[in-house]
């Protein structure tokens, strides 16, 4: 599912600095981490950062597959399906950016599991309605927001901390839309994310 030329993907475009195509191996690396800062950190802290990035990559693999399960469930109305596919596209862009960064740092990106494995772990057989699918997506997006915010202090490279913050911003945007689609209220208090 490549939606890169779809008008619904402005955030992906801006994520890539307005380059029209996904030339991640070049663009993402330049964007994701300043080379100077990378040169200055030790290999031990670099491998710690790679570990965290790899856990993040696992989240993105899972999100892509969760949206896949939702999209092929037959439970989503067309308009909702379009949004799900757009969000899945965002997660694919996140995945590609993380893979490029991990490789740049000399790490090995974790592999995606099989769709069935994700279906089992996420209890996809319990999804009986559009609201169920949206609820699962909202839980995962909120979890991802909080996870990305939570790992920020662990990065030795502040450029990577910024990447985590940008990923968190995308996931927060997703959560907000999903929460609204579910007819749920906004968070009652400020500073509800990442705590």
């Amino acid at each position: 599912m490549t939606t890169s030329e779809n008008s619904m993907v402005p955030s992906r475009r801006s994520f890539l600095g307005n380059t029209a195509k996904i030339t991640l191996s070049a663009t993402a690396i330049a964007l994701l981490a300043g080379k100077e800062s990378l040169a200055q950190i030790s290999s031990k802290s670099m491998s710690q950062d790679v570990n965290i990035l790899n856990v993040a990559l696992g989240l993105e693999h899972e999100a892509i597959n969760a949206y896949q399960l939702g999209a092929q469930s037959g439970l989503l109305q067309k308009a909702v399906l379009d949004v799900a596919v757009k969000f899945q596209g965002d997660h694919k862009a996140h995945r590609d950016a993380l893979i490029a960064t991990i490789q740049k740092l000399g790490g090995t990106p974790v592999a995606e599991k099989k769709l069935d494995d994700y279906a089992m772990a996420l209890k996809a057989d319990m999804l009986k309605s559009q609201a169920d699918v949206l609820d699962l997506a909202a839980r995962l997006e909120l979890g991802a927001t909080n996870a990305y915010l939570g790992v920020i202090p662990s990065f030795k490279d502040t450029g990577l901390a910024k990447v985590a913050a940008r990923l968190a911003a995308d996931e927060t945007m997703h959560w907000t839309i999903l929460n609204n689609a579910l007819g749920r209220p906004l968070p009652a208090k400020a500073l509800s994310f990442g705590a």
Partner: protein, 124 residues
Amino acid sequence: MLRKQFPAMLGMMLISNAPFANAGGDPVRGEALYESRCIACHSIDANRGGPAHKGVYGRKAGSVSDYSYSDALRMSKIVWDEQTLDRWLTNPEQSIPGQRMGYSVPEVADRADLIAYLRLRSGK
């Protein structure tokens, strides 16, 4: 849905485990914290980005057989209890250098509630 089942399941467990429940933390609040902070990477029943937490309280660290741990966690001799979980959640890297969780819980009360919840779900 999972979320809707959670409170009901917890309610049942609270009743069945009431005499053994940890006096320190509040497992109900712990469940809510778990749902917002841990759920991205963990479930009780399934390996996700992180290992499944079923039975974690009282077991050796890094011992879920079908989860691929860091060497550091797999080789560690730690057994998860109040103290070791508290130290882990405060600062995983200081607790077990070379691990790859990268996520911590700075507030002591939050940790106590999370640990109470994990303990309850482990039937301890």
